[in-house]
């Protein structure tokens, strides 16, 4: 009796053992690959590089040197400004785009999704080729005697981030706006609060939690991104850039100091996350949408105007993709593009960089298998086996969400460059970074769909004689498929596009596409960068088309 009283659910001994075993497996996975690396990072940050003795000098160095304090200031300023701008741009556009029937709706949607999914640094380098010193548009403008200021530094970073990140706000907020209960707004109109005042007083406050979540995502991405400030920032250094420099210093890495910087950036991310959570929790309304609002048909002149506004901004944000695609088919002379069609860039990458393409797909697909298995098991534990250990799994698996890629790269390096488990230099460490960072997408969508599947369906299967484990495979998994696949496609796309962690973890043999693009840009091989970016964009588009087919056009990418 005392032995069995602990288990309240599921009397089958075998299923009981299986899920306990799975809980253990996942917790051990988390301990080895998430907790241990971060633990090691924290320890390193308190260690003297040479003697390994305890020291505070890494942190002292950070706070004493103006250069580092400035980098921190820059990071915070950029993240804040970008968050404000992206929200200010994304929310009104989302309102227009989701409430009014515009022309070219599909096109606008595709442009917005595409720009959201591509790596930010491609935007940076594309804008450089347009507005930089030798830029195309700069050239035209110079020819007619107009001089625009430099886009390097603060201005450029903000431009690239804003155009790259407002789509996140747009998609989140459109989602909320199309499911809000329209009777709320009608009630407000009834009470005499209408038009723009109604929007400000009722609509926006109601979707405020969504706006805040989107803003958080923007802030985190801007804070963590390394490629953009590195390429377009020039003298304007941010924290991730400093972390890379310290960690990948030619004259000798200062792991302790890089670790201390990483801890600082994690702390900032955590504080922002907690503040945002508190604010959201306090004004979170549970809404069941009874009747979603109808699309308003505007009179033609207004409709044209509204379409133009949304189209213009979304076109700007997808302009980097268009630019690099065109450039990839142009003749190059050194770092410059010259007139004339050519496939030379593709030939060059075919000869030199084709392994990066193969690597990207191989790593991403292997990682995807792990992501799918972990998500299926993890989602089941979180939803169906509620308890302390499943809460822990939930938290642990979502934690890497807030960790900048660079920091994860450093964590994995310091954790797995010594015995007993040496992974550095192998493809497995890159795959590991893919799994850890991109798991949350699939996990979230799997948890979401499992909550919608009534557990009595599983019980029906069991009572018909199919044991719990087999029921999970035969019934639960097929029913979870739509959610699982849509999350998996997003995980896949973002694995293929990710740069930060891989840049720290790769070697010549394990280079991926986004790293190769980054290196090409750094070496002024813009033609090859363009060709690789185009292939990457194409792969992304193919994944999105698959996503759309699977979700029958009803899926949301955020």
């Amino acid at each position: 009796m005392s032995k069995t009283s602990a288990k309240t659910k599921g009397t089958s001994k075998r299923s009981f053992d299986f899920w306990v075993a799975m809980t253990m497996v996942i917790i051990i996975f988390c301990l080895i690959f998430i907790v241990f690396p971060f633990f090691k990072l924290i320890i390193q940050s308190f260690q003297n590089q040479g003697t390994n003795s305890f020291t505070l000098e890494n942190y002292a160095k950070f706070f004493q040197k103006k250069y580092y304090r400035e980098a921190l200031g820059h990071s915070l300023l950029i993240s804040l400004v970008v968050t404000v701008l992206a929200t200010a741009l994304g929310v009104p556009l989302a309102y227009i785009g989701s409430r009014f029937n515009l022309y070219l709706k599909r096109v606008i949607y595709v442009m917005i999704v595409l720009s959201m999914l591509s790596p930010p640094f491609i935007g940076a380098y594309a804008w450089i080729t347009l507005l930089g010193r030798n830029g195309l548009i700069t050239g035209w403008l110079n020819a007619i005697g107009i001089s625009i200021g430099s886009i390097y530094g603060f201005k450029g970073i903000v431009l690239v981030f804003t155009l790259k990140l407002y789509p996140m706000v747009y998609l989140y907020v459109s989602g909320a706006l199309t499911t809000i209960d329209s009777s709320l707004e009608e009630a407000s109109e009834n009470l005499g609060v209408s038009g723009i005042r109604r929007v400000m007083k009722v609509t926006f406050p109601v979707i405020m939690p969504t706006i805040l979540s989107a803003a958080l995502m923007v802030f985190m991405t801007a804070l963590a991104d390394f490629g953009t400030p590195r390429l377009i920032g020039e003298g304007y250094t941010t924290l991730p850039v400093v972390i890379y420099k310290e960690f990948l210093n030619e004259v000798g890495t200062d792991t302790g100091f890089a670790s201390a910087l990483s801890v600082v950036i994690i702390l900032i991310a955590l504080v922002v996350l907690l503040v945002q959570k508190r604010v959201v929790d306090r004004r979170s309304y549970n809404m069941t949408s009874l009747r979603p609002p109808a699309l308003v048909e505007l009179p033609v002149p207004k409709k044209i105007l509204a379409t133009l506004a949304v189209f213009f901004v979304s076109f700007l944000s997808v302009l980097p993709q268009i630019t690099v695609t065109i450039q990839s088919f142009m003749k190059t002379k050194g770092p410059r593009f010259v007139a004339g069609f050519s496939l030379d860039s593709y030939r060059e990458i075919g000869a030199k960089l084709s392994n990066s393409i193969v690597n990207t797909f191989v790593y991403a697909f292997i990682a995807l298998i792990f992501v799918i298995v972990l998500s299926l098991l993890g989602a089941y534990l979180i939803v169906r086996r509620k308890g302390a250990s499943s809460d822990a799994i939930d938290l642990l698996l979502m934690f890497p969400y807030v960790i900048p890629g660079a920091v994860l790269g450093i964590c994995l390096t310091v954790a797995f460059n010594v015995k007993p488990l040496i992974l550095t230099g192998t493809m497995w460490i890159i795959i590991l970074s893919f799994v850890i960072r991109k798991l949350p997408y699939t996990m979230r969508s799997s948890v979401g769909i499992l909550y919608q599947i009534d557990s009595s369906v599983e019980e029906a299967s069991i009572s018909l004689g199919v044991p719990p484990m087999k029921t999970f495979v035969k019934t639960t998994v097929p029913l979870m498929m739509p959610g699982l696949i849509s999350g998996a496609v997003l995980s896949l796309v973002s694995m293929m596009n990710t740069l930060s962690a891989t840049l720290i973890l790769y070697t010549g043999k394990t280079i991926t596409m986004s790293v190769a693009i980054f290196n090409c840009v750094n070496n002024d091989a813009f033609g090859q960068a363009a060709a690789l970016s185009t292939i990457l964009t194409l792969a992304t588009v193919v994944c999105l088309i698959i996503f759309n087919i699977i979700t029958k056009g009803k899926g949301s990418v955020v």
Binding site: G10, S463, T471
Partner: protein, 357 residues
């Protein structure tokens, strides 16, 4: 295999410090249609899930025939279960749903097809066999759930409020059908409902459950006519409770006459008389057992429903069949009630237990 009997011996389920099922003892005979009846939250589903194997039996034992099943996993209990929300597999066709349990039993080929077809024919869904569940109405889904449960020739059939999602007319038609099929297959069935009318109509025997405990077990008529306590009298059908005092086999109605009822002569003390709305006749003032005033009257087709304020201040409801009505009574009329002595149950006001002989 022939159907089995079920013996539930002190089954208890504990959530924290709350007993959802408290030492439940039941003996369910082979082939019997047995209903667990009680208000929502009384522990019916919890008990049913213990029998099915989805809830651990914290204390006590459950036997199928003579075999203790406490530690047999749900998948091995050979139970047919019909869930409240049907729990049809949404990704399988009707036919595949029905075949699911057979395939788990390694039934193959012609036999698989034939047995599934027989079950679908019995539930009259053979015409829908290629449909997906999303293309079925609620009633049709219910039939699929039932076909899927009986096709495996289970030892015991469990049903948890299977009709509560259907509309009123369909509910009545389906319950008759369930009853007929159960008798035809002669399969031991444990049926859960909170609807006392449904329970009375469908069951061989009923266990009335309240707060995790069994209040009374008996056949429908027995439970209706001879409730063992106030809860059962109130829950099965409607009862008015009139205060009184019993002594030496006689009962004095508070504010009314002293009458002789078939109560335990040894009992002495405060009592309650349970009077069903149709077990009292309305007479002119002064002619019955207790005086009252019509407070409100409602015409309900077959009968008139009167709300009556008694001399002692209590309010009760009385029904009078339309065809029997001699005088139409109106609000404010002074009347007198004549109780049907042989149909009245008397309860100890303190213990709420029946003191009938």
């Amino acid at each position: 295999m022939a159907s089995q009997s079920v013996k539930i011996d002190n089954a208890t389920k504990i959530y924290g410090n709350f007993k959802a099922c408290d030492q439940i003892c039941l003996d369910i005979k082979e082939g019997e249609f047995f209903t667990l009846l009680g208000p929502s939250g009384c522990g019916k589903t919890t008990l049913l899930r213990m029998i099915a194997g989805f809830n651990h039996i914290d204390e006590g034992q459950i036997f199928f025939n003579d075999k203790k099943i406490n530690d047999i996993p749900a998948a091995k209990r050979n139970i047919g279960m019909v869930f409240q929300n049907y729990a049809i597999f949404p990704h399988l066709t009707v036919e595949e749903n029905v075949q699911y349990g057979l395939k788990a039993r390694k039934v193959k080929g012609e036999e698989l097809k034939q047995r599934a077809l027989d079950a679908m024919k019995m539930m009259q869904i053979d015409g829908l066999k290629d449909r997906m569940p999303s293309q079925l109405s609620g009633g049709q889904q219910q039939r699929v759930a039932l076909a899927r449960a009986i096709v495996i020739t289970p030892d015991i059939l469990l049903m948890d409020e299977p009709l509560c999602n259907l509309d009123a007319k369909l509910r009545v038609a389906m319950r008759t059908e369930i009853r007929k099929i159960q008798k035809k297959l002669n399969i031991t069935t444990i049926y859960v409902t909170h609807d006392q009318e449904e329970a009375l109509a469908i069951s061989d025997r009923i266990a009335v459950i309240h707060d995790g405990k069994v209040e009374q077990v008996g056949n429908p008529k027995n439970i209706y006519v001879h409730p063992e306590n106030e809860f059962v009298a109130n829950f099965i059908g409607t009862s008015n409770f009139i205060d009184g005092e019993a002594d030496n086999g006689k009962v004095r109605i508070s504010g009314g006459k002293e009458i002789t009822l078939n109560v335990d002569p040894v009992f002495s003390g405060k009592v309650k008389l349970a009077v069903r709305p149709e077990y009292a006749a309305i007479e002119d003032a002064g002619k019955g057992d207790i005086e009252g005033t019509i407070a409100f009257s409602t015409f309900l087709g077959d009968f008139m429903n009167y709300e009556i304020t008694l001399e002692n201040g209590q309010t009760i409801e009385i029904n009078e069949y339309t065809e029997n009505i001699l005088h139409q009574r109106n609000a404010g009329d002074k009347i007198s009630l004549r109780l049907m002595y042989d149909r009245i149950n008397v309860f100890d006001a303190e213990t709420q237990r029946s003191i009938m002989k």
